[in-house]
Symmetry: C2
Subunit: 316 residues, 2 copies
Amino acid sequence: VDSDAIAGANQRNGQLTKPPGALGRLEDLAIWYAGWRGNPKPTLEHPQVVIFAGNHGVCAQGVSAFPAEVTAQMVANFEHGGAAINQLSKTFGAKMTVYAMALDTPTADFTTAPAMTEAEVVTALQTGWNAVDPESDLLVAGEMGIGNTTAAAALACALLGGNAADWTGRGTGVDDAGLARKTEAVAKALMLHDTSDPLEALRCVGGRELAGIVGAIAAARTHRIPVILDGFICTSAAAVLFKACDGALDHTVAGHLSAEGAHRRLLKELGKEPLLNFGLRLGEGSGAALAIGILQAAVACHSGMATFAEAGVSDG
Amino acid sequence: VDSDAIAGANQRNGQLTKPPGALGRLEDLAIWYAGWRGNPKPTLEHPQVVIFAGNHGVCAQGVSAFPAEVTAQMVANFEHGGAAINQLSKTFGAKMTVYAMALDTPTADFTTAPAMTEAEVVTALQTGWNAVDPESDLLVAGEMGIGNTTAAAALACALLGGNAADWTGRGTGVDDAGLARKTEAVAKALMLHDTSDPLEALRCVGGRELAGIVGAIAAARTHRIPVILDGFICTSAAAVLFKACDGALDHTVAGHLSAEGAHRRLLKELGKEPLLNFGLRLGEGSGAALAIGILQAAVACHSGMATFAEAGVSDG
C-alpha cells in the first residue's frame, strides 16, 4: 500500500466541500482505495467480476438441495447472461468472465480422500491467478458449485478451529436431515486430513473454485487491484491467504453479510465489517457485486468533488 | 399500488434461476417497485434527484456551525457540479435539478413567529410538486439549508411528540453550546406554536426546502414514482405526509441511516428499515442517492434474470 497516496488522499478529503466526516465510511473507503491504487485522486472505471465453477465429490454424501448437474447448467446460464450476477455486473459496468473448472471431474469426496491432488490444486490456483486482468481497477471473485458450502465449512473449520456445526449451514436450502449430513461430512473430513497448513487444507477439503478465488485474490494484490469479498464461500477461500500471511487481505473489503449463518463468524475472525446486509445467500459473487456501486460512489465523491477553495464555499 | 403487478412480480420471482429467497431483501424491493410502477417486469432507467435549498431565520439563535451564506454557496457548487450529490447522481445515472427557494428571504425565526406565511408554504409545496418529472421512474428529494436540522428537529417533535432534546443533534457539527442553543430553540418553538395540524406544523417550524420535499413526495405518489427517502431532514419532511394521511409513505423506502442521532427514532416511528448504513450526515439527498444503485440492482435482477425454464436449469 502506498502511504504517500494515503496521505495525499487524506489531505484532499479534508478540503472537499462537506463538513468534516460527513460522508462517513465512504471517506474511509475512498482513502483505502487510493492507497492500494497508489493515487491520491483515483478513478474506478474498470471493475471486473470473475466467476469460478467447480464440482464436488462430497455431493455423494447428500449435502445439497440441488443435483450436481446444476453447476454446469448455471455456467451455461452465466454464459447466456441469465443469472443474477450478469444483471449485477451490467448494472455497475463490470466486465464478467466465467471459468468452468473441470466440471466433468468433480473433486474427490473429502470424507474419504483429499479433494484434490497437488497438481489439481496448483492448476486451479493458476486459473484464478491468470483470470485477473491487470488493467482492471476492482475485483469481485465469485463462485458456483453444488456442494460448495460444505467444502467452505470444512475449510473454515480447518483454518479457524471450532466445531463442524459452527461452520455448517443450509446453503441453497437443505432440510434438517441434509444439514445433519453436511455437518457429519465436515466432521469426518476434519478427522481424516492433516489441515494444519492453509494450502494443504485448501487441497484436502476445498475445491477448484475455492482455489481459483485464492489465486485471483493473490494476483489482485500484486496488480494493486482492490477486491470486494463475497459471501461465505468466497470468504472461506480468502481465509486461506489470511492464515498463510499476515495482512494478506488488507487489499480486500467485505461486500455483504450473507444469510449463511457462519459468514458473520468468519468475517469477525478476519476483522472485516461488511458493507451491505440484504440477506442474500446466492453466491456467484452477487453480494460483492452489489457493493461495487458503493465503492464507485465513494471514489467518485472523493475524486470528483470541488474543494472549499475551488467552489468558493466558506468552510465554517 | 397495483395488486396485479405485485402478483405477477411475485410469480416471476419464484421462477428465476436462484434458490427461493436467495436474493433476500432485493426480492422484496423489486416486487415493491413493480407494484408502484404497475408492471410485473419493470425497468428503472430514469432516476431523478431534486435538491431544494432554503434559508432559516432561526440561524439568528446560533444553531449552526456554518454561516448562512453557505446555503447559496453550496447551491452554486451544485450548479457547477462540485458537490457530493453531483458525483452520486452521475455515478448512478440520475438527472439532477436544484431549486434555490427565495434564499435572500430566510424564513422567520420560528422561536418568535411562524417560519412561513400560508402563501409562502403553498408556493414551496408547489415548487416541490412541479419539480417532479412525470417521466422519471425513481425520485430522490434532497435538501440544503444552513440551520435546517433545527427546523427538522422542531418539525419531528411537533409531529411525533417527545422532548426537544430527543430530536436535536449536532447537524453539520455544532459544539455542546451550539447543541444547547438548538435544543432551546426547538423547545421555544413548540411552546409558541399550535402545531396539531401537520401542514400547520410545517408552516410554523419547517422551512421552504422541507415543504419542497413534502410536495415532491406527494407528486411522486400521483405519478406512481417510487421514492428513496434521505436522512433526518428529508424524513422529517416526509413525516408531515405520514401524519396527514395513512399509508402516504408506502411508495417510499428509507435509503440510509443518518449519523444524525434522531434519524433512527424517526424511521422507527415511520416503520421504515434503512437500506444502507455508512455514517453519512451530509444531506443533499446523498444517503438516498447512494441507495439508487441498490434499487437498480434489485430491478435488474428481477426483470433481467432467466427463469428455470428459459435457462434449462433444474430447480431442485
